[in-house]
């Protein structure tokens, strides 16, 4: 188990399908749920996290708002391509507080993790933190 922010472990968000300079994708991996990345309209939305090296993962926690369906993919390549499906999850709507979902990854390592938000409970969604448990 670890609670260090992903960014301090050398992880980076290398792709994000929306950008608002006030809410950059780096906010997803800074470990702080007060800062967030926000989608700017339409679905699907996605972001890809790259780890500094192949990382063993047992599960993830995703803190978000208004996400309705989340799909997670991973790869072991240095390129952000050729992903394999890992899991998908329906997320309940929460009123006035963040959604906190844990996603089991069944072990195995990854260099990239790809998160696809196929649909939301509203026009816009936000992602506040992604944390990993090793």
């Amino acid at each position: 188990m670890t609670d260090s922010p992903l960014s301090s472990l050398g992880a980076k968000v290398v792709v994000a399908s929306s950008s608002d300079e006030n809410h950059p994708p780096e906010n997803i991996i800074d470990g702080n749920t007060n800062t967030f990345w926000m989608s700017t309209g339409m679905f699907p939305q996605e972001f890809i996290i790259r780890f500094a090296e192949p990382t063993n993962l047992s599960s993830l926690t995703v803190d978000s708002y208004n996400v309705k369906h989340l799909k997670v993919e991973k790869n072991m390549s240095q390129n952000a391509s050729q992903f394999e499906f890992v899991t998908e999850k329906d997320c309940e709507h929460t009123e006035g507080h963040l959604q906190s979902n844990s996603v089991s990854l069944n072990g195995g390592s990854a260099v990239h993790l790809r998160f696809i938000i196929t649909t939301g409970h509203d026009h816009f969604v936000s992602v506040h933190r992604v944390g990993v448990q090793h």
Binding site: S18, S19, D20, E21, N22, H23, T33, F36, M38, T40, G41, M42, F43, D63, Y65, T94, G96, H97, L98, Q99, S100, T119, D122, H123, F124, S126
Partner: protein, 188 residues
Amino acid sequence: MVKLRARCLLVGDAAVGKSALSHVFHSDGTLFQKNYSMTTGVELLLKCVNIPETNDSVELYIIDSAGKETLVEACEKMWGEPSLLCLVFDLTSEQSFANCSRWMERVRAHSRGLHVPGVLVGNKSDLSPRREVEASVAQEWAQSQGLEYHETSAREMENCDAPLLSLARAFQSLYRERQEAIQNLSPG
């Protein structure tokens, strides 16, 4: 600075001028299609609207969908989940205005209970001698549906920017509103 993206549904009866309007939108008021050719499916047009006095812009993915009754059902499958609505009628056709409530029902069925900001557009304002729908009546109905009302002439390229700008502004203010709500959330 932010670039928003919105799926904008363009609907209304056949021959009210949806495609003509969308081509005027798309060409920034330089192109009016003189020859009528009925849209039988769905046409996608991409138009970026800058919101004046801000650095924000909205990319509109305009879904121009056939208005002819027999084609509607097939087209509805391609509507997806709309972010914005542009409902058009012909100012010289009372019937096309009366049918607007049917169009609203159809759009609502696709919006999953979400609020979809929109505009009502009375087109063909250049044909004033043949006008059948009074501005005040259209305005009142628009208001009752939460739509902003505009009159345009695609042929004269008159006022065609107004509905787009109004849609872009509505989407931007929805975004700002949601952003503020998210900022005030408590942790999960």
